[in-house]
């Protein structure tokens, strides 16, 4: 008969209660806020700083409330959304550049809900406003840098072996390192050196040509894949650190595919700043100033040319260390009040640094700032049309060239920076870690806050209208059973919202559209059931019999059709990336929840209303 055991009712009630709790945070709109954190550990960030920021806001006439210190950062909520940008400016001015002031959206979830770990769905950038970057890691550059390091190491190792392995030159040629020698014996000795230690991962191949003895070292495919993978994950870590330094609330930094990284900064409006920090593919190279002339040197310009007598300086080709060896960096001032950056290296870096500087006291050590930039070049394409094509190039400029006073170790400082701001920025970049490979912007999206707000209201409005239309339609057509279906539909939305909040799905405008659409499709199950019940009644079934048969017969159709759709969603998830995957998740969850509410939920209601009555006179359908 049409009765449900008690546990089924309890199960449904339980699911509903839990869903209500976890969907609830979405009802509380976040407050616009500014977040303040200290630029480095030397600067204190406490209630006093927060209070002075609040005073500055008062003076500027910007309404604010809810000042709060959490960990090392403070939060001030702003009353009006329009004033958020102004508030940031005011606070930044009041506190100076020792503090990072970032825009933030502060959640307003009540404590009892956040204690249950209930949190609202993340809003996609098209809803919250903000910036989205897709960065592509240039893996070809990774190998070039790798070969460069290896060739430096090889030169060192060969030199250490003395005349036995004296080389003519060692240089990188395309995808391999080429070394030349004047005798076969020296070449073979070099090959023996290259067969052990750091060089084992390279495949050595000797060759002779025109009385010269060559040795080429080529990295195997495994090494290449490993290096590339390392570079991308290293960049990912670095980007995470940098983004954290920006102090943005709920940033997203995620690997996508083989060599891409997605960065999303919700609520950020100052894209120029974000791009400067994130996109700064800066690295440092430490090289000794060249003495004498020859092939082993390169000339570089100074980054700040104004106060120099010479515009250029010659540095050695060999690297002492690169920025990856830096484990800590803090900006400060030297005895003369000029900006400087104090640097701490890891032990390998310290060893290399002390080895290079010990015997070179009195010479100068150059610090090169390496940056990947883009310029637009005009080219004529096949159709004779002039096109502007972005071209990447690496810019290396000297930021400091200072005399080595004594052997340097794991700790030393860089002076000669143009401004305190530059010092703190450089410290930030070094602290966050250098990028293992340059990156370029494959995609960049900026969504203004007003557009985001409009998209939300459009999404909410179409959800409301869509829901209203379906509800009226069902009620009109199926009366009591329409009401059941409508209740199930509402429950479905609550459960879906709760699930999406729990798994931390990001809600986008197409996501809302998918959500709305699921409502339309979710009624399908109930239409199937109700149509079937009507049909059974037509066929002369008793009322109770018609209900049972209607549900049972419709069941296979519902399961079959939904499983196929689920299969399609699964395929989309596996093949797709990013937006396509998000859509697949919403679709699959919608199918699952709608099956639960449409089959079990409405059946429970039907049984509750009609099940106890052995012979109801009429079915309101």
């Amino acid at each position: 008969m049409n009765r449900y055991p008690l546990w089924k009712y309890l199960l449904i009630l339980c699911v509903l209660a839990i869903s209500f709790v976890y969907a609830a945070p979405n009802l509380y709109a976040p407050d616009p806020a500014v977040q303040i954190s200290a630029q480095n550990s030397a600067t204190r960030m406490d209630d006093a700083v927060l209070a002075s920021a609040a005073t500055a806001l008062d003076a500027a006439g910007i309404g604010h409330f809810g000042e709060l210190m959490t960990g090392n950062s403070g939060l001030i909520r702003v009353r009006e959304r329009d004033q958020q940008l102004a508030a940031k400016r005011v606070v930044q001015q009041a506190l100076g550049f020792d503090y990072v002031v970032a825009l933030n959206l502060a959640p307003t979830t009540p404590t009892w809900l956040s204690n249950l770990k209930a949190k609202p769905m993340k809003l996609g950038l098209d809803l919250s406003g903000g910036v989205h970057f897709l960065l592509e890691v240039d893996t070809s550059d990774v190998m070039a840098a790798y070969l460069e390091t290896k060739s430096t190491q090889l030169r060192e190792a060969l030199r250490a072996a003395g005349t036995e392995a004296r080389y003519q030159f060692v240089r990188v040629e395309g995808d391999h390192i080429l070394a030349t020698f004047d005798t076969a014996a020296r070449r073979d000795r070099a090959a023996a050196i290259a067969a052990v230690g750091d060089f084992r991962e390279l495949v050595a191949a000797p060759a002779d040509s025109d009385g010269r003895y060559l040795l080429s070292l080529t990295p195997g495919p495994k090494v290449i894949a490993g290096r590339e993978d390392y570079a991308v994950s290293q960049n990912l870590t670095t980007l995470r650190n940098r983004v954290n330094e920006l102090g943005v609330s709920e940033p997203l930094v995620q690997r996508q595919g083989r060599n891409r990284i997605v960065v999303q900064l919700p609520g950020v409006q100052d894209t120029a700043e974000a791009k400067r920090i994130i996109g700064k593919t800066a690295n440092l190279e430490f090289r000794l100033e060249a003495k004498g002339e020859g092939l082993a040197r390169e000339s570089f310009e100074f980054r700040e040319a104004s106060d120099r007598r010479e515009p250029k300086a010659w540095l050695e080709r060999d690297l002492v260390i690169t920025g990856d060896r830096v484990i800590n960096a803090a900006s400060g001032y030297d005895e003369n009040g000029r900006p400087q950056v104090n640097i701490t290296l890891d032990s390998d870096g310290g060893r290399a640094m002390s080895r290079a500087t010990r015997s070179n006291v009195g010479r100068r050590l150059g610090v090169l700032f390496v940056e990947t930039r883009q310029r637009t070049e005009e080219r004529t394409n096949a159709e004779g049309v002039v096109e502007k094509i972005p071209v990447d190039y690496q810019e290396k400029k000297i930021i400091s060239l200072a005399t080595i006073q004594s052997a340097l170790g794991v700790q030393f400082r860089i002076t000669g920076l143009a401004s305190p701001q530059e010092a703190s920025e450089l410290a930030l970049l070094l602290r966050a870690g250098a990028l293992a490979a340059p990156m370029k912007f494959a995609e960049e999206r900026t969504i203004g806050p007003s557009l985001g707000a409009e998209n939300i209201s459009a999404g909410v409005l179409s959800t409301e209208i869509g829901l209203a239309v379906v509800v009226v339609f069902m009620l009109f057509y199926y009366r009591m059973f329409g009401l059941f279906a409508n209740l199930a539909l509402t429950a479905n939305m609550v459960i879906l919202a709760a699930l999406m909040s729990i798994i931390g799905a990001t809600l986008t405008l197409p996501g809302i559209a998918g959500f709305v659409l699921t409502m339309g499709m979710a009624v399908d199950a109930n239409v199937l059931i109700n149509a079937r019940i009507r049909e059974e009644l037509h066929n002369g079934q008793t009322i109770q019999g018609a209900i049972t048969a209607g549900y049972d017969r419709a069941y296979t159709s519902i399961v079959d059709s939904n499983l196929t759709t689920l299969l399609v969603a699964g395929i989309l998830y596996v093949i797709g990336t990013g937006p396509v995957q998000g859509f697949a998740v919403t679709l699959s969850l919608g199918i699952l929840t709608s099956m639960f509410t449409a089959i079990m939920g409405t059946r429970a209601l039907t049984n509750l209303v009609y099940g106890s009555n052995r012979n109801p006179k009429k079915l309101w359908i």
Binding site: K388, E444, G466, L517
Partner: protein
């Protein structure tokens, strides 16, 4: 059809029009393919790459003025179009680069329609666009293959072919519609096309399920008569579900804003054809392939003694 279990509603002879319908479907599909191949899709930023800037001006602004000024400022073949209203502008450029939005706003100047507000700026590299395009195509193909296998296992290969071709038919026509009328095809439209696949297969399976049930239940009657009976029985559901879904899509179309406009159009076309194709492509093809009662009588346990199912 005297021994049909349902005697009341008259059985509509759906299958009587199967040849003209099949012809119409073939013509529409061919037309769509021609449109896609020869006219091509107007690809949105997501797929084409480039830069797109949406500006909101305090006053109405003329696209021609903006375009001319951008050209004069050295931007190569800029496109400017109104976006939703006279004072909203969508500008598309081929290039990317730093501070593009600032440069564009400077080039337009303050007198065209007042100082604009930057609503959004999107830059997509050409590589990303091409990859996304391929990914979408592969996803659709694999989904079709998945459907083919699943339906072949759950039903029978004749049904599987019908279902897969019906889904392909809906997908091609939806995409073809966009090519023919020159609507922009972007990532949200791709999402809509993927939804259409889900919707179309869902609808087809419901019809097939009834066909299977009737083949097992109704002992007499030709396959064509069983088909007609099944279509008639599921007609109410078909109309109601597609009606409800279309109403929701209409809500998206009218109030969802400019971004969801094309999404809604794709869904309207797709749901319309998805509903039609369940009957006139999927079922008709199964029938033309010679589906018989014996094809579906295999599992004995499926004679369905329903009990205790939820």
């Amino acid at each position: 059809m005297a021994d049909s279990p349902v005697s009341n509603p008259p059985i509509i002879k759906f299958m009587a029009w199967r040849r003209p319908a099949l012809l119409a479907s073939a013509v529409l599909t061919a037309l769509s393919i021609v449109a896609i191949v020869f006219k091509g899709l107007v690809l949105g930023l997501d797929f084409s790459g480039g830069t797109q800037i949406e500006l909101h001006f305090p006053k109405a602004v003329e696209t021609e003025v903006v375009r001319a000024r951008l050209s004069a400022a050295g931007f190569v073949s800029p496109v400017a179009a109104h976006f939703g209203s006279e004072s909203d502008l969508l500008i598309r450029l081929r290039e990317g680069g730093d501070d593009l939005a600032t440069r564009v706003i400077a080039a337009i100047g303050p007198d065209a329609g007042g100082t604009p507000e930057l609503r959004r700026m999107e830059f997509v590299g050409p590589q990303v666009g091409a990859e996304l395009r391929d990914q979408g195509g592969i996803a659709v193909l694999v989904a079709l293959l998945g459907i083919l296998i699943y339906v072949a296992v759950r039903f029978q290969y004749k049904f599987a072919l019908g279902a897969a071709l019906a889904v392909a038919h809906d997908t091609i026509i939806t995409v073809g519609f966009f090519a023919l009328f020159g609507y922009e095809f972007d990532l949200t439209v791709l999402a809509a096309v993927l939804t259409v696949i889900g919707y179309s297969i869902n609808d087809t399976i419901v019809v097939f399920d009834r066909v299977r049930e009737n083949f097992r239940l109704v002992r007499k009657g030709s396959p064509e008569e069983v088909m007609n009976l099944s279509m008639t029985q599921t007609l109410e559901r078909t109309l109601l579900t597609s009606g409800a879904t279309l109403l929701v899509v209409l809500a998206l179309f009218f109030v969802g804003g400019e971004v969801l406009h094309n999404f809604a159009i794709a869904l309207m076309v797709g749901i319309g054809f998805g509903t039609y194709s369940s009957i006139y492509v999927a079922s008709v093809l199964a029938l033309e392939l010679g589906v018989r009662r014996e094809d579906l009588l295999l599992p004995v346990k499926d004679s369905q003694e329903f009990d205790g199912l939820p």
